[in-house]
Each structure stands twice: as C-alpha cells, then as structure tokens.
C-alpha cells in the first residue's frame, strides 16, 4: 500500500512537472513573461492589460501575460503555484511577505539588472523596505500611508474649531461629537479583521512604544498600555461607534462616508471613494494626533513586485519592469488607485502636487513606519489583534492581556 501510493504519487509528480516543463519551454521560446497582479480595484486589470499591450508594441516578439488575482486570495494562489512550480515570472506581493520569499530562495535579487540611475528613480523611503542584506528583492509598485479624515460639518455642529493635534484633544472632540446623538459618533475605531492591530499602532507609536524593540515585543511597554487604555476609555465614554469589534476597516470607512463619524484614520484611497460615492461630504485630512511627549507615527505600506528565481525569461521580465516604472505608466496607476507616488519624477506630476489631501499624506512620510521585517509577523499581528479585541470587549484587563500577548510574541521572535 505504502509503496503503491508512493509510486502513484511519484508518477503524478513526474507527469505534473513534465507538463510544467513543457509549458515553460514553450514559453521560453516565445519570449513570454507571465505576471501575477493583485487586484486593487476594478481599474487594475484594464490598466495592466493596456501596459502589457503597449510594451508588446514597443518590443515585438515578447508576449506579456497578465493574471489578475483578488487581494484576498493572492497569498493562497502564490503558495499553491510555488509549491507546484508553476508560478509566474513576476508577481506583486505584500512587502511584509518578502522575508519569507527571500529566505526560501524564491525571490531573485534585482541588483544585477539595475544601475544607479534606475535606483534613483525611487523615493528612498519606499524602496528600502524591499532591501534585505544589501540586495534589492522587489520594487515598490504601490505605496500608501495613513492620515486622519475629519468631518467638518460635525466639527462645526459640536463647536470644535480645529482638528485635534493631540490624543487628548481628540478625546475631547470625540466626546463632543458623540454628544450630538442621532447616530453620530466621534472617533471611528476599527476592531475586526485585517489591520485591527494597525489601528492600535497609531496610538501606540504616539505614546513612544514600538512594535519590536531590541528583538522583543513592545506590547508590554508602558506606552503600549497607555495607548490601549486610551482606546478602551474612548469606547467606555461612548466617544467611538458602539460595538467596535464588529467594525472592519471598510465598515468604519462606510460610516464616515455616511457622515456618521467625526474622525477616522485610514489610507489616501478613501478620498477617491468619497469623491465617487459621497461628493457632498465636507471633510478634511490631517495628521495622526501626537502623544503626550509629542511622538507620532503613521503606518506606511508598500506592495512590491518581485521576480522569481526560477523564471526562464529574466531579461525580458526586467525589461517589462523597467517599462512599468516609467513615469507615464506610474502616474496612470497611482491616480487610478488613489495611492502615493513612489518615484521622484512621478511625484512632480500635477495630479499629486495639486491635491490638498495627498499633500497631507506626503507630509506625514517622515514619520512613517513599516511593518517590521521579521519571521512570524502575521502571527504576531494576529495575536495582537486578538488581545485588543478582548480588551475592547472588556473581557480582559489591559496590562495582563498585553503582557500575555507580548510573551507569545517574544516566543515567536526567538524562533
């Protein structure tokens, strides 16, 4: 039985890899470059199809095949493709996954293809997260940071003159706005699904705590506890929407678009959504509030496009990357999706220089922090979110919950 099953398995594997080889060699002859692309919005697919067509016109003989994958299932698809050896030549990934791709020898270093001029195209804040051991493993294809959106009408009604500059001012303003009643709440707090932990880091960084300090989790620090207490107090004072653990990022954004939230912290793409879905909303964009000692921090996120080490068409694949990162293509992509420009020349385009909202985001970049590049990051993020949910629900006290989470995180960091 054992032998039989092993034999069967091997046959299937040989057959599969044979098919894969055939496909690859056919691809190699035709000069095909396969690109896995994450779907940011309905505009992503058409954008990449157009760029591929333009590239093919400029480079006859090369065939670019674009596969558009929804963000939610991208990681799952890459895992399956890589384990079967049928991955594309290029793929968009979350930069926070890159460490795994590098340590398992899946991503190809790009330094051999790039000259200094190519590297200089990028705003260095966004290129550095893809650099590991002095080698560049990915190029930032999408970048965003976070800022605070506030509803000007609600501020006026509640008699708050200016958007808050500190968390203390925010607490005060949020209470006043919630006091207006009628289903209106001061501060939108996210407590569910992806980035529940990130929503907490805003306050944590402002209180002088770091996610990882000297190889240990910062969750047990005094600043982390202060931040959690602040959020818990906002919940208890009804300065947030009720039932925060049932609100995902989209849910709080929707509440803001409906004019029911005084303030919410989120990414630049909310501006695009408000323009399309709630054009009458009177809103402003301002920085993340500062802590008692003036600390503040926003969350920077980049997605990278990487080349696979097993690609058979590396030269052509890089040529396509070069094309993708030329200014006209970049501007079209960034404007479509509502992200931040990643290249210096791109940033000079009037689309970005004229937008008041984007100026705020760009001005926050010096304070931007990225998800730490550590193994087991997703697991640490997950246990942080779980601890926060218990705190928000009042099931656990702040200090013990954070301490327990910090211990688990330390154990993961040691591995």
């Amino acid at each position: 039985m054992r032998i039989a099953s092993h034999w069967a398995q091997r046959t299937v594997r040989v057959a599969l890899s044979g098919v894969a080889l055939l496909a690859l060699s056919a691809a190699a002859e035709a000069g095909t470059v396969r690109v896995t692309v994450a779907e940011y919005s309905a505009k992503t697919g058409p954008y990449f199809e157009k760029v591929a067509k333009d590239f093919e016109t400029a480079n006859p003989g090369t065939d670019i095949q674009i596969e558009v994958v929804p963000w939610d299932s991208l990681q799952q698809k890459l895992t399956t493709d890589i384990s079967a050896g049928t991955n594309a030549d290029l793929s968009i990934i979350g930069t926070r996954w890159l460490l795994d791709f590098v340590s398992q020898g899946i991503a190809e270093p790009l330094d051999g293809y790039m000259d200094q001029a190519f590297k200089d195209r990028f705003i260095s804040t966004f290129l550095t997260p893809s650099v590991m051991d002095d080698k560049t493993y990915g190029l930032p294809i999408a970048a965003s940071a976070r800022a605070m959106y506030y509803n000007k009408d609600l501020f006026q009604k509640a008699g708050v003159a200016n958007p808050p500059k500190t968390w203390a001012e925010l607490e005060d303003a949020a209470k006043k706005i919630s006091a207006l009643g009628d289903g209106v709440y001061g501060f939108g707090l996210q407590g569910k699904e992806i980035e529940t932990d990130v929503y907490y880091y805003y306050a944590m960084w402002s209180h002088g705590a770091e996610i990882v300090e000297d190889g240990k989790s910062g969750l047990s620090s005094a600043g982390a506890a202060e931040a959690a207490k602040l959020y818990k107090r906002l919940i208890d004072e009804k300065a947030t929407q009720p039932g925060v653990t049932s609100y995902s990022r989209e849910d709080t954004q929707n509440l803001f678009k409906q004019g029911k939230l005084g303030m919410v912290i989120t990414a630049p793409f909310l501006s695009n959504q408000i323009r399309d879905e709630a054009p009458k909303l009177q809103y402003g964009v301002t920085g993340i509030p500062a802590g008692p000692k003036g600390d503040k921090g926003t969350y920077g996120v980049t997605d990278s496009i990487i080349m696979f080490q097993n690609s058979k068409n590396k030269d052509e694949a890089f040529k396509f990357l070069d094309f993708l990162f030329q200014t006209p293509q970049r501007v079209a992509f960034t404007v479509n999706e509502g992200f931040l420009p990643v290249e210096k020349e791109e940033a000079q385009d009037k689309h970005f220089t004229d937008s008041a909202d984007l100026k705020v985001f760009t001005s926050l970049l010096p304070d931007a922090r990225f998800a730490p590049v550590i193994p087991g990051w997703e697991e640490i993020a997950d246990l942080t979110s779980n601890a926060l949910q218990s705190i928000y629900l009042g099931k656990e006290e702040v200090e013990p919950a954070l301490k327990a989470a910090a211990e688990k995180a330390d154990a993961i960091l040691k591995q």
Binding site: S5, A8, Q9, V12, Q75, Q76, L78, T79, T80, I82, S83, D100, Q104, I106, G183, G191, K192, E193, Q241, P242, G243, V244, T245, S246, Y247, D251, L255, Q258, K260, E378, E379, D382, S385, N386, A387, Q389, S390, Y392, L393, K395
Partner: protein, 290 residues
C-alpha cells in the same frame, strides 16, 4: 477453485475503483505527508517531524475551543434544520391551493450561493445600518441597536440561525421525497381504525420516514461540520477567535499564518472525526433497517 472465480466483474469495476481510490486516497496520502513534515509557507517539505504538528494542535487552546465549538455548531444546526424541516415538509406534502408556489419559495434560497447569503446577513446584522435592528426597533422590541457581530454571545447564535435557514431547503427536499413514497392507503386504513393525526404521524409517517431522516442527518452533518462561508463572511472567527470552528481555524492556520503542516493536521483530524461519526451512525441506524 480460485482459477474458476470469474474475473470479468472485477475487471469491469476496476476503472471506477481506481478512479475512486485516486480521488479519495491520493489527497489523504498527500495530506498525511504534509502533516508529518515541517513545511515552509510555500508548501515545500523540509524535515520529517512525526506527530509534532498534531502535538502543537493539542497544546493550542484555540484548537480545543474550536473543536468544541464545531460540535455545538454541528449539533445545533443539524438538529435545528431537522426540527424545522419535518413540519415544513409535512405541510408542503398536503394538497392545498398554491402548493407548487410554496414549494418553490422554500427551495429558492437553496439556489443562492451560500457566500452571498452570508454576506447579505452580514449587512442585515450590521449594528448601525442593519435591517434586523431597524426591524426590531420598528416593532418596538428593542430600544437601542444591538451589535450582533461584536461578541460571540450574540454572533454565534446568529450564525447558527443563518445556517439552519440555509440547511432547511435541502433537508425538506429529502423529506418530501420520503413522504411521497408513503402509500396513502396506510393512512386511510389507520383513519378507519380511528387513529388521530398525531398517532398516524408517530406510527406511520415517522417510522417510514426514518431512512430519509438518516440520510438527511448524515449528509447535513458532513456538510455543516465542514461549512466555511457563514462564519467567515460574518466574523472571520473573531472577535479574538471566539467564533472559530475547525474549518475557519484551519484556513487561518494555513493561509494567514502560513503553517501548512498544522493546517494539514487539522484537516486530517476533521476527516477522522467525520469518518468515525459516519461509520458508527451507519452501523447503528441503517443496518437495522435492512
């Protein structure tokens, strides 16, 4: 003697047997191999680790909690669906004006994708703009909005309720098939003897319906035990893993945390539980019928 045993029948079923084995056995062999190795997040096998992945599960309180919750979930959903489906199918079996329409209405939800149903419920249960809260407020049953999905104590019963609703159409279909197979003269004879409706139900309908109830029970159990969309679309197993069942736990393990070895171990445990349940149940309740 053996030489004379006809070989042709075996040859004739051989192709389908091979196909069945390939479909059933191969994934399990593959899963066992992943579950007994340390695996990187791209599914590439590293060292053989024996039962370490199972041990890790056993030491994870979230796994044990999910296991218990899966049992509660399965018993409540399958039981609730059966208890609802029996009266519904009895009514639909009666001859009344508009029965065809009523049957279509009961079956219709079955035709909608489960994920879509779950997402619509997620909206309906939303705290500030949800339909359910507006309806309950309108009827004066509640004074303030209930945040249904914020806590397991309200979210999990709601998820069970949704699962019962979506399981009823399939169960009714099976039971209607069973009811139409019961000959009418049995009831006529019983009526002549002076039996009431309840007696007829208890002594004729229920016993003759039993094989169909058994089928509904087993198929529903397997289906509900492995059912992912409702919980995932409404809470993703949160807050703080308090609504996770095994299949959502498995998904998080495999595709969010990249622990494919442990995820494979979970799916083998799930397979074992269902296999044991099915074998025991089939032995206990179906053999006796034959």
């Amino acid at each position: 003697m053996t030489a004379e045993r006809p070989i042709l029948p075996y040859l004739m079923i051989a192709p389908s047997l091979c196909l069945a084995l390939a479909i059933v056995v191969w994934p399990i062999v593959e899963l066992s191999e992943i579950a007994s190795h340390s695996v990187n997040r791209f599914g590439q096998l590293r060292d053989f680790v024996g039962l370490a992945n199972f041990e890790a599960l056993w030491n994870d309180p979230n796994f044990i909690a999910s296991l218990w919750r899966t049992l509660v979930w399965t018993v409540c959903v399958v039981g609730g669906a059966l208890l609802t489906a029996i009266p519904v199918s009895l009514v639909l079996n009666e001859d009344f004006h508009g029965r065809g329409l009523a049957r279509v209405l009961v079956m219709l939800p079955w035709a909608v994708s489960l994920t879509m149903t779950a997402i619509v419920w997620r909206w309906a249960l939303s705290g500030e703009s949800g339909m359910l809260n507006s309806a309950l407020m309108g009827m004066g049953i509640i004074g303030t909005n209930i945040q249904w999905l914020a806590e397991a104590s309200t979210a999990f019963p709601m998820q069970i309720f949704i699962a019962v609703i979506v399981t009823v159409p399939f169960t009714v279909t099976i039971l209607l098939g069973g009811l139409s197979a019961i000959p009418d003269d049995l009831y006529e004879a019983a009526a002549l003897e002076g039996a009431g409706r309840w007696t007829m139900f208890r002594t004729i309908t229920l016993p003759l319906l039993k094989p169909f109830l058994n089928i509904a029970m087993i198929l529903n159990t397997i289906y509900v035990f492995n059912s992912f969309p409702i919980i995932w679309a409404t809470t993703q197993g949160g807050p703080a893993n308090s609504t996770d069942i095994l299949v959502t736990y498995l998904y998080k393990m495999g595709f969010r945390l990249g622990k494919l070895g442990e995820a494979s171990a979970v799916s083998l445990v799930m397979f074992a539980i269902l296999l044991v349940f099915t074998l025991v149940y089939v032995r206990l309740s179906m053999r006796r019928e034959a």
